[in-house]
């Protein structure tokens, strides 16, 4: 019998292409380093320990939000409600953080609970109703904002305990606590994504939902966990923010969801699902932070900064799309 040779692509060529894609993946890292180099040349203030510490501290809140939304986007979803979750958490945590009332653990836990609940609510509605996540979380965004205003009667919640304010404003062995929190959760989220069954299932659900289902993966369970996790990370960002500004702010976090989504996308997470890494998202968040810091140092007004940021987001996605079409 004739047994024709399989018309496979040449494995060596394929391996080479895979490697090239790998380099493409680091493109954002290279861009980040380049921008840092340029900024250090242009403004001598940029490359100082104190400035870089400020940048990372500022980035930490957006990065935490972006980690959560990265999980969601990898499963093929989106979460627009995290900015409002920040506000709800901020108000809730602050209400329990007045001096000489509760131990510091209480505002932290109640804040987290608020965020997890909002996230679980998103997950529940999305899995039970089959309404697109965009719509559901858009609704939750408005609900959350309303809740924050109701709970605080529209006023900032001030007079917070020192121990609570330490979370966002303190230092441990000379390192600002937000940076430590950022690193811890970066490692945790990376491990969840790369080393656990849950992480693998996230990629599977986002990569091909029907095939994931046919492989015995419970789609609803994965989505439920992912949205809850995203709410929890948003709560953490909210607590950090509240502590840094030493007030519970019902108006906090407006538009934060867009910065977080931008960080994830700049970092290579595809909005169609199935791809993305925490390292990419962290670099995306750092890139956003470094650019706005650099523009600040160069005395560029925030109006222009927004234009620059928009161009970078579109540029990152266009590059990524070109890269994919080439393959």
């Amino acid at each position: 019998m004739e047994n024709p040779v399989q018309t496979d692509r040449n494995p060596t060529v394929e391996a080479y292409k895979t490697r090239m894609r790998g380099i493409g993946k680091y493109g954002i890292f290279v861009a980040f380093l380049l921008i840092c180099v340029v900024l250090s040349v242009v403004t001598p203030k940029f490359l100082t320990v104190s400035n870089l510490t400020i940048v990372v501290t500022q980035v930490s809140i957006n990065a935490l939000l972006a980690f959560g939304v990265t999980f969601v986007i990898i499963t093929g979803g989106i979460d627009l409600s995290i900015g409002s979750t920040v506000a709800v958490t901020s108000v809730v945590a602050a209400s329990f953080a007045h001096p000489d009332t509760y131990p510091v653990l209480v505002p932290i836990l109640t804040g987290l609970a608020a965020g997890l609940l909002l996230g679980a609510f998103n997950g529940l509605v999305i899995t039970k109703s089959k309404v697109p996540p965009f719509i559901v979380t858009l609704g939750t965004m408005t609900i959350g904002r309303g809740l924050a205003l109701i709970l605080s009667k529209g006023r900032p919640v001030s007079n917070l305990s020192d121990s609570f304010n330490f979370i966002g404003g303190g230092q441990i062995v000379g390192i600002p606590t937000p940076i430590i929190i950022l690193l811890v959760f970066f490692i945790l989220c990376s491990v969840v994504l790369k080393k656990t069954v849950l992480g693998r299932y996230m990629y599977a659900v986002g990569g091909n939902e029907q095939a994931a289902k046919a492989s015995g993966i419970q789609l609803n369970k994965v989505k439920m966990v992912v949205y809850t996790l995203c709410g929890g990370l948003a709560a953490l960002a909210g607590i950090l923010l509240t502590s840094r500004i030493t007030t519970g702010q019902p108006n906090a976090g407006v538009g934060f969801e867009l910065d977080a989504i931008a960080a994830a996308i700049i970092g290579g997470t595809s909005t169609s699902g199935g791809t993305g890494t925490m390292t990419g998202t962290l670099i995306g968040a750092l890139l956003i932070g470094v650019i706005s810091n650099g523009l600040d140092l160069m005395n560029v007004t925030s109006y222009y900064q927004q234009v620059v940021m928009g161009i970078i987001i579109i540029g990152a996605v266009v590059l990524d799309s070109l890269n994919q079409h080439k393959n």
Partner: protein, 496 residues
């Protein structure tokens, strides 16, 4: 050159990634005739028609339409010249009205700004529908119509396009008997006006009722063209399947064991009813039938992808309640879908991750994946199945169809099933890879796994199965032994 022929095709060849879908196909269609195009699933009918309407470009060959060569590369151009197709899945805009759908893209305009003249659209549509003898209000929204009515609107659209050749692909698959009669009335009217119809259908009785000439394709090749009057059902089936079984299939190693799966009176409304069969360990049960006979639907129901309305499923004597694929996998049922891209693999994931996806809990400690054990298992399966890749980390999307299929089979096998359902396991993969899949099926059987193989390719069914379940329109019409089964008997029961 006979001027009677409105459409002449010869030497048409089309290759998809190395596989010849069409090989030197020819066709001659006269004005005002109904020309049936027959062939098994995969014979190349759809590809042929897609080339005719300009969806695909042929590698070589010539299409002569009304005396001049048709060299159009897009659907609109072909449409304007007068070739229309009524698709199997009706293409309509549900929110628009009947008239708006008929004249979509060719609206008559009025005035300075080119407002659409709805009134004239409706009038034209009304005249058209009346000529066809159907009563559908031109102002009705498309989505309010029945499938049959939608089809009539599609035909009206083709007529309004001044179609000289209308291709109908399984037009009666969703119609009631009465509606079929109406359709045939319209077809006869069209014939009188000199319109030629290329008619594709699996229903033998229809073919002989409506067609004047029959052309048969097989394996992408032209077989014969005959006047319908010179053929009957058996002789036509013989033309369609008439190849000899070659030595494609490795020697079977059947050691029939105990009952593995028993299905009793399984029904799902509108899909299949009262399906009852057993599969034994070490046996291949083939399921044959035409497209839409309910083969895949039964597999999906057993695997928990679709619900059942009634009936019982037993695995090794124990009754199962299967609600999700997860239930099925845990009970020991594996399913390799016909829809490899849609249900089989995650394209952006590596071979390794795809292959372990259904059995990942076997490689975990607590929440964490044990990379070493996962890699070892995946690599072993890749070697066993001879999956050709650059390595376990290569993405599945870059593999050939045959290797992708092996990845899916590997995934299913790693969940250690007692029963494997293979739905069109060799669809779209080349001959060499097909042979390997067949060998693999025999290996599974030798290990005492029960196999259900659904296939549209009769030689494959005959070559691989110990017993063959034949379905027709959701009913089981025969359960044949290997000795009883021939291509002709299977086809006879399949068109039952």
């Amino acid at each position: 050159m006979n001027p009677d022929y409105i459409l002449t095709v010869h030497g048409l060849t089309k290759t998809f990634s190395g596989v010849k879908a069409l090989d030197q196909v020819r066709l001659k269609v006269r004005k005002g005739e109904v020309h049936a195009l027959m062939g098994e699933n995969g014979a190349g009918k759809s590809t042929f028609m897609k080339i005719l309407i300009g969806l695909h470009t042929p590698d070589s060959g010539e299409i002569i339409f009304e005396g001049s060569e048709l060299k159009a590369s897009n659907v609109n151009e072909v449409l304007k010249k007068g070739i229309s197709m009524i698709h199997q899945e009706i293409l309509i805009v549900p929110e628009l009205t009947v008239a708006q759908n008929i004249f979509l893209g060719r609206e008559s305009k009025r005035g300075l700004f080119g407002w659409i003249d709805e009134k004239s659209l409706n009038q034209q549509a009304a005249i058209l529908l009346e000529q066809m003898g159907v009563t559908i209000p031109p102002g009705a929204q498309m989505k309010s119509l029945s499938v049959a009515e939608m089809q009539m609107v599609e035909i009206a659209k083709a007529i309004s396009n001044d179609a000289k050749v209308i291709i109908m692909d399984e037009p009666t698959s969703a119609l009631s008997e009465k509606e079929v009669a109406t359709l045939f009335g319209i077809i006869k009217n069209l014939k009188k006006k000199g319109v030629a119809i290329i008619y594709i259908s699996h229903k033998m009785d229809e073919i002989f009722e409506i067609s004047d000439t029959i052309t048969v394709l097989r394996d992408g090749k032209y077989i014969d063209t005959k006047p319908a009057a010179e053929l009957n059902t058996p002789s036509l089936i013989k033309l369609m399947v008439g190849r000899e079984i070659d030595n494609m299939f490795p020697e079977p190693v059947t050691q029939k064991g105990d009952h593995v799966l028993s299905v009793k009176n399984l029904s799902r409304a509108g899909k299949f009813s009262n399906i009852t069969f057993d599969v034994h360990a070490g046996e291949v049960l083939g399921i044959a039938g035409l497209m839409g006979a309910g083969r895949t639907e039964i597999a999906r129901a057993i695997f928990g992808l679709d619900p059942i309305d009634s009936g019982e499923i037993y695995l090794k004597g124990k009754q199962l309640i299967i609600k999700t694929p997860q239930d099925a996998i845990r009970s020991g049922i594996g399913y390799v879908s016909e829809d490899r891209k849609g249900l089989g693999f995650i394209p952006g994931m590596s071979v390794k991750h795809n292959i372990t996806l259904a059995s990942l809990p076997n490689h975990t400690k607590g929440l964490f994946i044990q990379d070493k054990s996962e890699t070892a298992t995946a690599t072993k399966m890749m070697t066993d199945l001879r999956i050709k890749t650059a390595g376990p980390d290569q993405k599945v999307t870059f593999l050939s169809g045959g290797n992708q299929q092996k990845v899916v089979i590997g995934k299913v096998l790693l969940a250690s099933p007692d029963l494997v359902i293979l739905d069109e396991p060799t669809r779209g993969i080349d001959v060499g890879a097909k042979f390997e899949i067949y060998k693999l099926i025999n290996q599974l059987v030798a290990q005492g796994i029960a196999v259900i193989m659904i296939s549209s390719e009769l030689p494959e069914i005959l070559g691989m199965s110990d017993r063959i379940l034949v379905l027709s329109k959701g009913q089981q019409t025969a359960l044949l032994t290997r000795e009883e089964a021939t291509q002709e008997t299977i086809m006879r029961y399949a068109v039952h």
